[in-house]
Amino acid sequence: MEEIRIEEINIQEPQVVIHLGDVNFLEKSVLNYGILSPPILFKNRGALEIVDGWARLKIANAHSMEKVKCQILQCSLKEAFLFHLSLNIKWRGFSEGEKLLIFKRFMNYGFREEEVIEGWEKISGERISRDFLIECLKLYDEIPEVVEFLHSGKINLTTAKELLKFPENWRKEILSFLRKVKGSTGEWINLLRLLEEGLYSGRIKEIEWLKNFSDLKSPLKKTFELSHPYTARCMEEIARILEELPPNFCLKLPEYLCGNNAELKINFNILEDLKIPENLNEVLSKVRKIVVEGVDL
């Protein structure tokens, strides 16, 4: 253990530390009791780099503490990085945004793809595929802003990867909408796939209008109608046919006749005393006809 002057340590842009977001959560503890657990450092090309304890050192530095007792490891940059990950995954884990940074950092330090996969499995217990790794790196390179969204939990990796399907000029608008509106993964994927369809077919020319929405339901409906006008007409026709049933008889159809809900599935609850309408079969065969044969072009 050595007592080190804080100014000698690279706190501003530490090389191996992966930590997004707030670091002040330890402030009270450091101010009241000092640094209880000594930071771990290593020497990289003469400079003192942090392996563990960045938050503590940052607070100490902000409060003008001069010296801190640290442990100094003799290790390479690559080893220090692996050690940093092993220590931090145990006590706080990493967000999906940080995970992207980790994969990128692995590659920057000269790890080969197989080494990244094996290294990450040893550290986290999670086995990732090569395709997953490549997609994460692509996401980091092509849409760097996404790291922050992933870290904050606004979107998850599944949704983020959908963004890669859009040409670059659409991504910014979509991301600014994602930032504003909350939705489940399923809803996001549904919206993004509908948008993708509309944009590629040219039925959606620009997506500025997304800015006007503060919830997800209305833009989902609008995007569906714009991107799938024919299917939307089929849905309208089906809704009209269903009106032939008594109003108290509840019959549910999949929300959209696109995506994987392609088969006609009709759900209704069999309740006691439920009176089956006499025209049910007739209505169902009309619905089936629309589902299979569609409406006029």
């Binding site: 399907k165 040409p167 796939r193 369809e197 590629y200 077919s201 040219g202 039925r203 991107s227 799938h228 006008p229 024919y230 299917t231 089929c234 006749l257 696109c258 995506g259 994987n260 392609a262 629309i290 589902v291 299979v292 044969e293 569609g294 409406v295 072009l297």
Partner: protein, 280 residues
């Protein structure tokens, strides 16, 4: 063009959804033509046409499969343009001779090319069908670049038929675009002379990655102007109602010819069968 050895298998199972087993022969891969909808662009890493040099291994594997006697249909032309590559590897002539020994097994040579003169030297066989993929002339000119015109293909069909070979029409892919109904009507009139042979067709299917590729090459592509849904196999297809109307129109043009629809949802085919008895 690249010549190399195929270290893998030459035969691949393909699911056409037809009532018999179907296998594709990979003697080469890649195509010299540039059809906007072609899956080969997103399927093979090489942009050049690759012709496999180890033909003997191909014949060995093929004969072994044919000896099983399962009355399968084999395809030549799934991964390449067989009549075009034949100029370089003479494979069509040789493969026909292999099939001569197995009259119960069928070979479909699917093509868009028009060089059929070499067939004069070959004795026709009943278990081989030369199938031309056709689109209406107007859209073909716009999206099938480098491909012989539909007129030239039809001339090649006539020649091949006159030489005594079976000749078929494949409407692959069936496309919806402005004026498609009239254009398909005209096309089917022109090929009525071969409609005793089953006409086979399938509406356009795209993988999401192929759609992205088409868009990146031509963001105004006519093919993409349509509405698509994601089907169970992950491919993008026209909405079911549009497909129904597309098939229905073609079936109405050839009410007395045998027709097959492949790579399609079975219940859609079932619904069409209620209207069309010629749909096999």
């Amino acid at each position: 063009m690249i010549y190399k050895e195929n270290k893998g298998s030459f035969l691949h199972r393909v699911n056409y959804g037809l009532p018999f087993e179907t296998l594709a022969i990979e003697d080469a891969n890649g195509c010299p033509f540039d059809c906007e909808y072609c899956f080969l662009k997103s399927y093979f890493s090489e942009s050049d046409v690759v012709i496999y040099t180890n033909k003997n291994s191909l014949f060995e594997e093929l004969e072994k499969k044919l000896s099983e006697g399962k009355k399968r249909r084999f395809y030549l032309g799934e991964y390449s343009e067989p009549l075009w590559t034949n100029r370089f590897n003479n494979l069509v002539s040789e493969i026909i001779e292999v099939f001569r020994k197995f009259p119960e097994e069928e070979l479909e040579i699917r093509t868009k090319f028009n060089d059929v003169d070499f067939l004069k030297e070959i004795r026709p066989l009943k278990n081989i069908v030369f199938a031309w993929s056709l689109l209406p002339e107007d859209i073909s000119k716009r999206i099938e670049k480098g491909v012989p015109s539909v007129e030239e293909r039809i001339k090649a069909m006539i020649k091949t038929r006159e030489m005594g070979f079976r000749v078929g029409v494949r409407l692959e892919p069936l496309l919806v675009y402005k004026g498609w109904e009239n254009e398909y009507t005209n096309l089917l009139k022109k090929v009525s002379f071969v409609l005793d042979e089953p006409l086979e067709m399938s509406a356009l299917r795209l993988t999401p990655s192929l759609r992205r590729l088409i868009y990146s090459r031509n963001s105004n592509s006519e093919i993409l102007k349509n509405e698509f849904i994601v089907s169970k196999d992950g491919k993008l297809r026209y909405p079911r109602g549009i497909r129904f109307r597309l098939y229905n129109h073609i079936l109405s043009l050839v009410p007395s010819s045998p027709v097959r629809i492949y790579m399609e949802e079975e219940f859609l085919i079932e619904s069409l069968r209620k209207y069309w008895k010629n749909l096999k």
